[in-house]
Amino acid sequence: MLEVYDLYSGYGKIEVLHGVFLRVSHREIVCIIGPNGSGKSTLLKSIFGLIKPYRGKIQFMGLEISQKDPEEKVALGISYIPQGRNIFPSLSVLENLEMGATPLRDPLKMKKAIQEIFDHYPLLEKKKRLKAGSLSGGEKQILALARTSMIKPELILLDEPSLGLAPKVVDQIYREIDLINHQGVTFLIVEQNARKALRLAHRAYVLDLGVNRLEDTGEGLLQNEEVKRLYLGG
Amino acid sequence: MRKIIYSLILTISCLAFSGVYAQETYKIGAAFALSGSIAVYGEGFKKAVDLAVEEINAAGGIKGRKLEIIYEDNKSTPKDCVTAVRKLITVDKVPVIFGPAASSNFMAAAPVAQENKVVMISAEGAAPGLTKAGEYIFRVFPSDVLQGKGISDLCLRLNFKEVPVMYVNNDWGMGLKNVFVENFKKAGGHIMDEIPYDEGKTDYRTELIRAIKGNPKAVVNLTYIKEGAVMFKQAYEMDIKVQWICGSAAKSPKLIELAGKAVEGIIGTYPVFSQETKEYKAFRAAWKRKYGDEKIPIFAEYNYDMVYLTAKAIEKGGYTSDGIRKALIEVAKGYRGVTGDKTFDQDRGVGSEYGVWTIKNGQIVDYKKD
């Protein structure tokens, strides 16, 4: 479904990715792990088009998309959830969902999709009039996930969903990801907190200093001592 | 739009031909406000000057040579007045200049003329002390010292012993206000409040409210045309019923055009000259011939007289600034112009009497107490 081929990218003068290869198949959860500064987030942003890659190919369902704008990619069925600030804090929960439903276009469909979300997450319905900024960290992450899954994208690019969350909350987030995946959505997740992500992932890549070092199934990498070495040296 | 295109074309063609001007004329400089905040007045002055020049030239000019006016825009700012006068003196080498209208602008430029020993004449400057810069500086318009007293007398005559005074916060307004207040107090009057206001604003309601705070019967308002138009309209809307007493600067058909029935019944003073003299009648006829039904703008008569006086001075004293300076005093002695007697006093200014005008049925008429 998604293929990244020899991708070079970075911010202005700072080249962060020096030739990355990647493949994601339909309905897979693929995880990218790696230490800080290895270029994981840069990779996601480059795939989504927030950064224009210097060179290399990105193909989505057979289509070359490396120079397309984010708006076009949303239309193609790719969604992206950035790390950290990923909701509109001064809009209400309901309004956040409405904003997320933008690509659906048809107001009736939007309404239906939002109602489905509320059915699935009663918590969000209870708080729908509150400003999203007042939610807890976990609730924000759920809101971001719900908002994105609502439009039924083909592929969700998810950047560090566990950042700054307590371990119990992280478990909950991962359960949600798993659920959404079972509805047919493909995931490409960047994680630093590797083990939880690896347990969930079908396959995983390890990124280090802007190139991919290892590729295996999630379970396989969990056992791999090399991963620990990459993280902690040795 | 068409005017603009023409102006552009003219600019270019004038540039090309600027060297080919005939030299056989007596050139006089005029640093007028052709743009900027008081350009409303400048246009009228220019028309009056043009009329006089046309007449003189039609009558054979001065000793066979024609008069030519070189207009220089002073942009209504002191800075550009100085530059304009300097340009007239050094580039066009004129011995005499018709100075800027507003007193502050005139006073900025006067030292330059004095320094270069070039005669400069004001046809509208009313500020006391306008000609202080030196012996080359003249005015054919009476000083506000006289008008201030005139307003004070008018108030007392109409039995307004207590009035607030509003004035436009610039050199003219404040100068006149000072003379008025001084005279009024001396004569036993009481000033209830002094309210300066800025030029060129669009809302004077609060100032008006403040003026009528003590329920005065009359308010002295030393205003220009545009500010006056705004104020009287707003006073009318707010149903303020007081007797307005103005100065000379508001006496204009333009005020009626702008403010309509709101200015009905206001009265004011103005330097008076009889409109019954043959000089004035001739002027009015000439104006009508040249400009049709257009109303005679404020102070046009003074500009007209200024040109004639200058022409006579050139004829008598020769085309040098010292000649003009000396001859001006002589030719003016006992000269009856459109605006009456133009004899210069020792400060190179002229005297005048003050009359009272009012607006009745949309016309400016002499005020008669009924």
Partner: protein
């Protein structure tokens, strides 16, 4: 050299740094590691006065420095760098370096008039030093270029040289090797080690474990704002708590 006692900071209810205490010895290189968002940079900002502390005390050379302004702390000999290189883009390489020395006479307005000789001498001294430094980092041909025209790695090197020029007693480095190629990383590590030999003290945030292992004498590990471990790099590598923080449970 530097003593931290119970530093704490919260941003809008979220604890960024929790009760962090540490002693950093003179002439040592101390590392600070931890997953993204664990509060490392915040800790640096707290020490150097860029962010106000909620609680805690900072002592530098036995002197209390918390509550001082950033430039006051810097002029006492505790200087930091930033995650992204912060050279002054529209100043030349040479100017960037000449800016660094502390307490320059020529920066005082009155001295420009009254002590011209001294200002000139001082400037000449600094110039000589700066030029030799530029030569050492191999930027001599570029000395009159605007810093914005350098490559990112060169900018980082310039930043290092600037630190050298500033000659502080202690340096806090925030990810000195981020975003540059291995060759440059080597150069920067050499720089750090040379300066240590000259008696400087370092506190380094670094993700590249190879750098940590090679340079650091002692390492602190931060997770969710809390210090979860400390020790030599070898100890840290094998500490299960650290592994858990990085790789999860």
């Amino acid at each position: 050299m530097l003593e931290l006692r119970g530093l704490s900071k919260a941003f809008g209810g979220i604890q960024a740094v929790v009760d962090f205490s540490a002693r950093l010895e003179k002439n040592r290189i101390t590392g600070l590691i931890g997953p993204n968002g664990s509060g490392k940079t915040t800790l640096f900002n707290l020490i150097t006065g860029f962010i106000k502390l909620d609680r805690g005390e900072v002592f530098f050379k036995k002197e209390k420095i918390d509550g001082l302004l950033p430039h006051e702390i810097a002029s006492r000999g505790l200087v930091r760098t930033f995650q992204l290189s912060r050279v002054f883009p529209r100043m030349t390489v040479l100017e960037n370096l000449l800016l660094a020395p502390q307490g320059q006479m020529g920066e005082k307005l009155w001295a420009l008039g009254l002590k011209r000789e001294r200002v000139r001498d001082e400037e000449n001294r600094n110039l000589k030093k700066a030029l030799s430094l530029i030569e050492k980092i191999g930027l001599l041909p570029l000395k009159d270029e605007f810093a914005e025209n350098l490559s990112y790695g060169q900018q980082k090197l310039l930043e290092m040289a600037r630190l050298f020029m500033a000659n502080p007693e202690m340096i806090l480095l925030d990810e000195p090797t981020a975003g540059i190629n291995p060759l440059m990383i080597r150069k920067i590590m050499d720089f750090i080690l040379t300066m240590r030999e000259m008696g400087k003290t370092f506190f380094i945030i670094e993700h590249n474990m190879d750098v940590i292992i090679e340079c650091c004498d002692w390492v602190f590990v931060l997770d969710h704002g809390e210090k979860i471990s400390e020790g030599t790099p070898e100890e840290i590598q094998n500490d299960p708590r650290v592994i858990e923080a990085y790789l999860g449970t």
